[in-house]
Amino acid sequence: MEQQYKQVNFNLNGKDVSCVVDIRCSLTDMLRNQFGCTSVKKGCEVGECGACTVLIDKEAFNSCIYLAVWAEGKHILTLEGLLGPNGELSDIQQAFIDEAAVQCGFCTPGFILTGYEILETGKLYTDDELRKLLSGHLCRCTGYENILKAVKKVMYQRLGKTPEEA
């Protein structure tokens, strides 16, 4: 019988880590159960809702349909990794608070991480482009309105522009 368990070595939120996982285990389950990353949420476990989003080598993925063993050698960023060294909030987290973009909070970590991925490109996007880039996440509380507002606000902040100048 094939070996059921395997050691995985990867970088989690800036730290090299390793653990032994069941080869059938999803990245979501490994991050939640073995590393206590409670920001990685389970909403569907089949890649439909986006609540489990993490960045793998700077790219947003649904971790529920990504095998834990594929994390070998990768850099994984969860919401826990966005905090500064003294627990400071990142600009996008602060914007979610300021723009009232948080309600039940269950989709929030995923949205913030995709927002972070978008912002890291350093590009200026139109509203329609932002809507498309964020469309992989479902939210039932906010109508997405303030989430878009928060991402857009930080996009302009980072580019040192105002919506009027763009």
């Binding site: 409670t38 089949v46 905090l83 909030l89 309600q103 469309s135």
Partner: protein, 770 residues
Amino acid sequence: MPNVGKSVPRVDAMDKVTGRAKYTDDRCDPHALVARVVRSTIAHGYVKSVDISQAEKIPGVVRIVTCFDVPDIKFPTAGHPWSVEEAHQDVADRRLLNRHVRYVGDDVAAVVAENEVAAAQAARAIRVEYEPLPFVLDPIEAMQPGAPVLHKEYPDNVLKHTSIRQGDYQTAIQEPGLICVDKWYEVPTVQHCHIENFICYAYGEGDRIVIVSSTQIPHIVRRTVGQALGLPWGKVRIIKPYIGGGFGNKQDTLYEPLCAYLSLQVGGRQVKLDVPREDTFVSNRVRHAEKIHIISWVRPDGTYAARKLEMYSNQGAYASHGHSIVAKGMGAFPQMYPCPNIEADSYTVYTNRSVAGAMRGYGIPQAMFAFESHTEDVCRRLGLDSLAFRHKNIMPKGYVDGFSKNENYFDSFNQCMDKAVAETDYVRKHAAYAHQTGEVRRGIGIAPFWYNTAVWPISLEHSSCRMVLNQDGSIQLQVAETEIGQGADTAYAQMAADVVGLAYYTDVHVQSCQDTDVTPFGLGAYASRQTYTAGFAIRQTGLILRDKILDYASEMTRMPKYNLDLMDGEIVRTTDGRVLLKLADLATEAFYSLTHSVHITAESTYQTKSNAYSFGCCVAEVEVDIPLCKVKVTDLLNIHDCGKLINPALAEAQVHGGMSMGIGYALSEQLLFDPKTGRALNNNLLDYKLSTTMDHPHLRAMFIENYEPTSAFGTKALGEPPTCPVAPAIRNAILNATGVEVDSLPMNPHVLYRRFCQEGLIADPWTKEG
């Protein structure tokens, strides 16, 4: 400095943007045993036998129970306050697991295993033999003689039928010159789709059972678990952490009783029951599908002579909230457009489909789609201006409902419509869009909505509050009206800070995680009741706490209490405005004084015996691509008179969410059932079309802040109302654009294709008439 009325950040925002907020699954031991439910694969029948022999052999399986093992106790699930009057108690019609299965997805057996893989494998390995019976999916068919009977106590499948009779309908329709508008409307089954599925876990502690659950109603669930398991209610403890949305689905007892039972079957070990998304669609609760028939007899001058309403509500297999939902919708009918002669009947009918329960709006989204589509259709038939018709006929200022004693103090409907019309340039656009040609046409539509706050006088309304002064002059606050994402905890903190006299709402620590052992008794989050109902208890308790603080201040300062005030966290002498003492110093003294040490706390219950109307309207602008049968919403505006806003930014955010749910209801959402098998066809988030960022226009929310006179803080319902008017506003916009009356939801391309063909807007290549 007032805290109420300010757009301060949420008290739980930091926890939620860092991912450290603990939801049910985040608190569960990762090594807890895992439960899986085995579900009926037929729509109706009896379980003849369950073969667990193969499943038991799977490594990791700990325990399997079937419908033949569970206690013979039927229990109710609705998240209503219990009634001490038997006639008003919720219907008890299900067991923990059922031998008589009544829908595809009914609970037949359950596996407890050491891990999810073993639980899932064992659930698949269980063989269930059924004796199938005929089934029925439609409420009107289910009422016919000879239809399959779901519950023998209800031989015609009618769970309940209620009526309203006003004046004399039959005589009134004889009046010469009346025009009759007779139409049917239909709304589909939809699901709440909170992003956190229902989940709970249970474990034994002493001689009690503890259940941690994603619920809106911890104290109610305590009672229903007690009822379902035959346990004294005090032996059940419910803990409610942060929850990832509820929208009414979690205003029901879902799998808490079964999970508790399973834990007790394995010696009180921790058992987790995490419902997969596919099962959340089918085996939790859904919004009632309804068929609604309206006959209006109208005079040529645009006044109603008589009206008739029939509503058929699809309950699905078990009673849950049952008839309360369609009854609420029916109740709005004679109030919204008062008419002297009315006959209204509503029927809630059992069918072999997923169980319908509470969902944001509680019967009003269904009713508003029919009522406000009908208003538009009546005006069209008579050639009347529908906006003028509404202004003329809608509930006038000063209207008082005889039953609830609700009063329309401020002419809310007309104020909201006036503002919406002005903001959207409705009148000009509505006229300009009326006679378009071409493939892509624009339209604008309006729909007001009726809503009220909380459940009095249908049911009990009360709230209990506890406040505890800390050493630093901050306070702890507890109420049982749960935070479910709507922002209630923040509103409570703002209210409490002002009533007690603290400087900032952050000086109030709201205990968000509820525990029936600790939190004062209260009913939970539903009926858009939290700020209104808890507001009374917060004000009353805050005044008691403040009074006790001033007593102590009087003692410390040797000043008479009537010359003292507590403002912004300071004891002030009112005669000269001098600050005599900081609350923090007073609190420390009160804790540790060697002469008079006291822990200053306050606790009280306020029973609410009032209710408040909460009205508003929606204006939608659309672009209809006729050949593609597609609708794009280009502008959406909701106006609400929900009284005084406690936190404008959070209020606006609430409205956005409700509007979003309304867009889905209007254009894309429906849970489909296979007519041949009764099986749900699209019970996943890919095939069930929830709207995404791409499906929304910029959402606009505005308010008319009429201070509600019955309220402790001038506030009233806002949680559910935003969903209620959106679908009829979009529907009326499509009518404005195309001249086509669409009378069923969702107005997706399938429906529009059929309607546009019927009305000759497009040629159907598949029919000769084309």
